[in-house]
């Protein structure tokens, strides 16, 4: 099994996640699609780490996971506080910052 198959799978997952972020309007589902994109990148990091015989790629994946966890915590807190104020809002309704 060569490296290309993993990279192609990673590219497909990343693109599906990107389409999801662009198409969906529910902020929670958009966050899930971002997680999908991060996982695709993790997969390609591990694939490169293996094919280069270097463990640094796996270390970067650990950091990506930590940052993803922090991002999800803060993002969901923002979603929660917005939804508490205006229930049923989708991403198109959130124009409070528009000048």
């Amino acid at each position: 099994m060569n490296q290309n198959s993993y990279l192609i799978l990673s590219a497909a997952m990343f693109s599906i996640g990107a389409i999801g972020v662009l198409v969906r309007r529910n902020p929670l589902v958009m966050f899930m699609c971002v997680e999908l994109m991060l996982n695709a990148v993790n997969l390609s990091f591990v694939s490169f780490s293996r094919s280069l015989g270097n463990v640094d790629g796996q270390v970067i994946v650990v950091f990506v996971m930590v940052v993803a966890a922090a991002e999800v915590v803060v993002g969901l807190a923002i979603v929660l506080s917005i939804m508490r104020r205006r229930p049923g809002a989708n991403a198109d309704d959130l124009t409070m910052l528009r000048g």
């Binding site: 192609i8 280069l52 270390v59 966890a69």
Partner: protein
């Protein structure tokens, strides 16, 4: 010819990548956010299997524990807090009709660009990277030693990042003392806001407790 090239890793790759792709499509296409979250779990497990297939055992374990065990549960907590029945009509007609086709075209263009880059770059690389490097280089001890020597500063900074995230989540979700909910109490010029605030509404203990619990993970 096919039987000669098919080995166990190919079979694992086919199964796991099918699970990953179906799960990804499920995340994007499900009407119910809970179904999206469950599809996300399937995708994360598929990625964990692919990590195992590439000798990244520690990362596979962390993937299952952190992603499937903590992050998806956090998503489910928030979905439940906001109401499960909030289904979204995924394929409704947008106000701007060009927007959805444009999104799909952009995603497809992204995919084609990445694929072309992969094929071009990997066909130019000469030299054969070791297909299966000695597994002693990839065990958990080696990963830990690199993490705590070469990347020790980045590792310490991530602890600061996590602390900031915890504090930020608590600050964002708690209600300020004496704050009134404008939706429940329309502004009344004659009333004193401090007296109007309902003490039971201030803390919102369930929400705050759940959030803090999840953050603690």
């Amino acid at each position: 010819m096919l039987a000669a090239t098919v080995n166990s890793e190919t079979i694992v790759w086919i199964i796991a990548s099918t699970i990953c792709l179906l799960g990804s499509v499920g995340v994007v296409g499900s009407r119910n956010p809970v179904h999206s979250a469950l599809s996300l779990v399937a995708t994360l497990f598929g990625v964990a299997v692919l990590f195992v297939a590439q000798q990244a055992y520690f990362l596979a374990v962390v993937q299952v524990i952190v992603y499937a065990g903590a992050i998806v549960i956090l998503f489910l907590f928030v979905i439940m807090l906001l109401g499960v029945d909030s289904q979204e009509d995924v394929w409704f007609v947008e106000r701007r009709i060009w927007r959805r086709p444009l999104a799909v075209v952009a995603g497809a263009g992204l995919a084609v660009g990445i694929l072309v880059t992969i094929l071009v770059v990997t066909s130019q690389v000469t030299g054969t990277p070791s297909a299966d490097p000695p597994s002693s280089d990839f065990d958990v001890a080696n990963l830990g030693s690199v993490l705590f020597t070469k990347y020790v500063y980045a590792f310490e900074i991530t602890s600061v990042l996590l602390t900031i995230a915890v504090v930020g989540a608590v600050v964002l979700t708690r209600k300020a003392k004496g704050a009134i909910d404008l939706d429940e109490f329309p502004p009344d010029p004659e009333a004193d806001p401090a007296d109007e605030a309902d003490p039971a509404d201030e803390a919102d203990p369930e929400t705050a407790a759940a959030t803090v619990d999840e953050v603690a993970r």
